[in-house]
């Protein structure tokens, strides 16, 4: 070949090389995406500013929940070279193995090498004291730095269930709401959950640029994509901190629930579940340990919010309901007399009753809590001629009950509210067979006296008393009064929910009976001198052991300020524990101090959890 012609090969080679390089550039720059991802992981720091969560105050302006600073120890695995890991293990009190295990989890892998460049939480929610010890030696811990965050702090160790707690979001919460990213905090229960959107505020986002040494080099595009954090809103709760604290003290060493509501507004003054726990246990790095400890208590089950979620047979307190329905339906007047023969005569003395004068009228029946009387009343409601059948009578009765907010979620602002239970006719069809049950069947089962399958939560129980105190309506029970910067919020609870019992005389008659409970009936021992009170005892049979002690109460009779329902599990007569506790609560709330120190002392010291043998009580009173 002529050497001159070799230029074509040379030029051809140059062109070929140029084309090959251009093709490779096209692949790297246009086709392949992984480099773009790596670049943004390396050079951008996606910073999230966590706003402080809103504080929660009680109804008198006492601070209940606020924030404290906690520290997350962050690590960038790539920068760890030369780190004094032994020293770090010693301060964190972890083993070298544990440290290596955590690092292996956080470090980059074949699939995602960029994890090496990013920050990860190595140890979360360290308290200031631990942080201080770390800071002294921070210069030795290459690759580690500390980021401050806010965690909850509680002024008083009270109302754990009501306030709820805050924790890291789980996968399901992340998936259902794009606002949350892994590592964020979210309200898990109680007010923290119910008012999460107000309390959390709004996260701020910043895209910062950083260099190879992790130094921040300013905002990306001068902050075009950044947004400022918005602080969470402060909430004013309806809770009375003093009353709540007192309630928890009275209920200590007993299992049960207590609910106190201001009838004219529906504001929850106290909501006590016992046993309870110190809400501070759920703050900081010991959360997991403490949680497990509380879960392990299978007897007390301190995590279970009994006041809101436990459905109890209401027992004799439900007689008030049947009286109201009977009066409304016209099958009962205050003067109606029914006999009692240590029980309900038509069924040969079942349900049984305790000794008292017979026959009694309506007032006497409430004051003495006569089982026979309310079996008659219940049966007469179902036998009402205006309904085609007894089954229709039962359906009508059930609708009355539902209108009091029982057997359904009332719609409080607390999550996980339970419905309770008012059996449907279909349920009885299933139990007894279609057309095989009559009014007498259900009377015998105890529906007239608040037994059988009836289930009512303490909150619902208290709501019934509010309705009676209001003579016919209730406001939905709630625990937040006002929200900072949201003036329309108060409107949310002003609606009056009228029940199907609309006759005011019915309420006055029942209230008179409740007043007699306190003056000469089952509750006379807990009457507070100088206050006209209306109450009702209950001794609820249950399949789990001794009867539950129940008491409902509102006061004063005119212009009621407080309605309360107390249930103490397996504590026997309603007058034994529930009544004194309810009465002491009312005294504390209305008078601001308690004078009946003996009664108070007895309640504070009684221990029903650790008792060896239960009292043997059977009949309901």
């Amino acid at each position: 070949m002529n050497p001159q012609d070799r230029k074509y090969f040379v030029v051809g080679f140059v062109v070929l090389a140029a084309l090959l390089y251009t093709a490779r550039l096209f692949y790297v720059q246009v086709v392949e995406d992984k480099y773009k991802l790596s670049a943004s992981n390396q050079a951008f720091l996606y910073q999230t500013d966590y706003p402080p969560r809103g504080a929660i105050f009680d109804r008198n302006g006492k601070l209940l929940v606020f924030n404290q600073v906690a520290y997350d120890l962050m690590v960038v695995p790539r920068d760890m070279e030369g780190c004094d890991t032994t020293g770090l293990c010693a301060i964190l009190n972890i083993t070298k193995d544990e440290m290596l295990k955590r690092l292996a989890r956080l470090s980059g892998s074949e699939e995602d090498a960029s994890r090496d460049y990013r920050s990860h939480i190595f140890e979360s929610q360290m308290l200031p004291e631990l942080n201080a010890r770390l800071q002294e030696r921070m210069y030795k811990f290459n690759g580690f730095y500390v980021q401050s965050r806010t965690v909850r702090k509680y002024t008083y160790p009270i109302a754990a269930h009501l306030l709820g707690y805050v924790g890291e979001v789980n996968d399901a919460e992340c998936a259902s709401n794009p606002y949350y990213k892994s590592g964020d905090y979210i309200g898990k229960s109680g007010i923290e959950k119910g008012y999460e959107e107000y309390l959390r505020g709004k996260k701020g986002f910043q895209i910062k640029m950083r260099d190879v040494h992790n130094n921040i080099k300013g905002s990306y595009q001068n902050g075009k994509y950044d947004s400022a954090a918005v602080e969470g809103k402060d909430l004013v709760s309806t809770l009375d901190a003093d009353l709540q604290l007192y309630g928890e003290q009275l209920m200590q060493n007993k299992i049960g629930g207590l609910c106190a509501i201001e009838p004219s507004t529906g504001e929850i003054l106290a909501l006590v579940t016992s046993p309870t726990y110190d809400p501070n246990l759920f703050v900081g790095r010991d959360f997991g340990k403490n949680y497990v400890m509380l879960v392990k208590d299978s007897v007390g089950r301190p995590l279970f919010n009994r006041a809101l979620m436990s459905s109890y047979p209401p027992g004799s307190t439900f007689k008030l309901m049947n009286a109201l329905i009977g009066l409304q339906e016209g099958v009962l007047t205050p003067a109606t007399l029914y006999p009692c023969a240590h029980g309900y005569p038509p069924l040969g003395g079942k349900p049984k009753c305790h000794p008292h004068g017979s026959p009694t009228n309506l007032y006497g029946s409430i004051a003495t809590s006569c089982n026979s009387y309310y079996s008659y009343v219940f049966k007469s409601i179902l036998d009402n001629r205006k309904y085609k059948s007894q089954e229709d009578g039962y359906k009508a009765w059930r609708q009355f009950v539902l209108s009091f907010g029982v057997g359904m979620a009332i719609g409080t602002d607390l999550p996980y509210e339970k419905k309770g239970n008012v059996p449907t006719p279909e349920y009885y069809d299933k139990v007894f067979g279609k057309g095989r049950w009559k009014s007498i069947t259900l009377t015998g089962a105890g529906l007239g006296i608040g037994q059988a399958e009836l289930g009512v939560t303490p909150v619902q129980m208290c709501n019934i008393i509010c309705t009676i105190a209001n003579r016919g309506y209730y406001h939905v029970p709630h625990c937040i009064k006002t929200i900072e910067g949201d003036s329309s919020f108060v409107q949310r609870w002003t609606k009056r929910h009228y029940t199907m019992v609309t006759n005011p005389d019915a309420y006055e008659a029942v209230i008179e009976g409740m007043a007699q409970v306190m003056t000469n009936g089952t509750g006379r021992a807990v009457q507070i001198p100088g206050i006209e009170m209306c109450g009702k005892t209950g001794t609820a049979q249950n399949p789990h052991g001794d009867d539950h002690s129940v008491f409902v109460l509102f006061a004063p009779r005119v212009n009621p300020k407080i309605a309360i329902a107390v249930l103490v599990e397996n504590a026997g007569y309603g007058s034994a524990y529930a009544a004194p506790i309810a009465s002491l609560m009312v005294e504390q709330y209305l008078n601001g101090k308690v004078l009946r120190k003996d009664m108070e002392q007895r309640m504070l010291e009684s221990d029903l959890i650790h008792k060896t043998a239960g009292t043997q009580k059977k009949d309901s009173h």
Partner: protein, 427 residues
């Protein structure tokens, strides 16, 4: 009235000058961006790289036009003296130079430093052109060995003494010149290429060399079988070929383990062989970061001064050997392809102009210039986009550094000057 040929800049190839100016201007703006720092930007601060590079660029342009003023016969006449002088400097620096990053190739004078190895590029090109153009045609084949032996090899050895492997390799590109001049046959280049491929395959698939040799042998056997004339010569040739390739693969797979650690590391990472994490981080980091920077540029780039990977120094040596990353990141595929296009135009233009010369000297020099630029372009850009292993040589007119910028300018403009006097027959 003066003769046309005596007019200043008569017959100068303005396209080459234009490409040169375009590259040098783009190069400076690119340096400015690579070292850009919002807090400290100040081009009149003479300790800053972009300011120094500005001085180098202006000096280069002045130098370029000065060369155009000098008569071309100056270079033909002094080629050997220039070569000798530059070689002496290189020899001195190899023993007396300042040690920087493991190599001894720099003279330091206060704030500035000088790398004589860069000058060796144009000096060698000149000497080669002088020597080869002076040979009588019949003797050329025999003289080839002498040409390489006397001129190119000593340069490579001296520069290897300075431990600048990358720069030394540049002179291997002179094989293109020899090929054009008919001193190296095409089949030798082909064998060379196949040999390099065999070595790469041998390193990459070192576990399967036995199987590969068997496959080659099978192919050779089939070839012999279908041959009409089965001469002993043919059989011997096939056997030797299989033996040669197999031997090369085997030897290279063993030699790779004996090479200096950084070379072994770079090659293994480049070939995607299994290496431990530390090796990968140490020798793969540059390429990885370089790919991330270029790859993140996308189609149209992030915009001038808005590159994050280069600005925030994720890419090591980004203003020198890895300067192409800044182009790729900030100007995207459009920008990087344009730069490749511009260089290709430069190289092809030089080749085509060289072919039009009456003077052997100019043609040989031209080919030397073209092959030096081609080598730099392919090796430098190739390593930034992961086609080739990391070899530390600059991208002409783009990489930071006075010695290289001035050397490339001199290299190119001697050719421009020679070319402008193509109507005269120079020695």
């Amino acid at each position: 009235m003066r003769e046309k040929s005596e007019r200043l800049f008569y017959n100068v190839d303005w396209l080459l000058v234009g490409i040169f100016l375009a590259l040098i201007v783009m190069g400076w703006f690119n340096i400015y961006s690579a070292v850009y720092d919002e807090q400290k930007s100040d081009i009149f601060n003479w300790t800053r790289l972009e300011s120094k590079q500005m001085i180098f660029a202006v000096t280069s342009v002045i130098l370029a036009f000065s060369i155009l003023v000098i008569d071309a016969s100056f270079f033909t006449a002094t080629a050997f003296y220039l070569y000798a002088g530059v070689m002496l400097l290189n020899l001195i620096v190899a023993f007396a130079g300042a040690e920087i990053k493991g190599s001894r190739s720099w003279f330091k004078f206060g704030g500035f430093s000088l790398q004589p190895a860069e000058f060796a590029k144009w000096a060698t090109a000149l000497a080669l052109a002088k020597f080869m153009s002076g040979l009588a045609k019949p003797n050329m084949k025999q003289a080839m060995g002498v040409a390489i032996g006397i001129i190119a090899l000593p340069v490579m050895i001296i520069i290897l003494l300075q431990r600048e492997t990358g720069v030394a390799l540049v002179f291997a590109a002179m094989v293109v010149v020899l090929y054009r001049e008919g001193l190296v046959a095409g089949w030798i280049l082909l064998v060379g290429l196949i040999s390099v491929l065999a070595m790469v395959v041998g390193i990459k698939y070192h576990e399967a060399i036995g199987i590969l040799v068997l496959i080659f042998a099978a192919i050779a056997a089939v070839r012999i079988l279908i041959l009409r004339k089965k001469t002993f010569k043919q059989i011997l040739f096939s056997a030797l070929a299989v033996l040669y390739l197999g031997g090369l693969m085997f030897v290279s797979s063993k030699v790779i383990e004996k090479m200096p650690e950084h070379q072994t590391g770079r090659i293994k990472v480049w070939l995607g062989l299994d290496v431990d994490r530390a090796t990968e981080d140490r020798f793969g980091y540059n390429t990885k970061q370089s790919l991330i920077a270029i790859g993140s540029g996308g189609l149209a780039g992030k915009g001038y001064l808005d590159g994050t990977q280069t600005k925030f120094r994720f890419v090591p040596e980004q203003e020198t050997d890895f300067i192409f990353c800044t182009v790729g990141e900030e100007w995207g595929f459009y920008g990087s392809a344009f730069v490749v296009l511009l260089y290709s135009m430069l190289i092809v233009r030089i080749i085509l102009r060289s072919e039009r010369q009456r003077s052997d000297f100019t043609r040989i020099y031209g080919y030397a210039v073209a092959s030096i630029f081609l080598f730099h372009l392919m090796v430098n850009v190739g390593m930034t986009i992961g086609i080739l292993p990391v070899i530390g040589i600059p991208l002409p007119f783009f990489s930071y550094g006075g010695s290289s910028l001035i050397s490339f300018t001199v290299l190119l403009f001697i050719f421009v000057k020679l070319d402008s006097q193509r109507l005269l027959i120079l020695r």
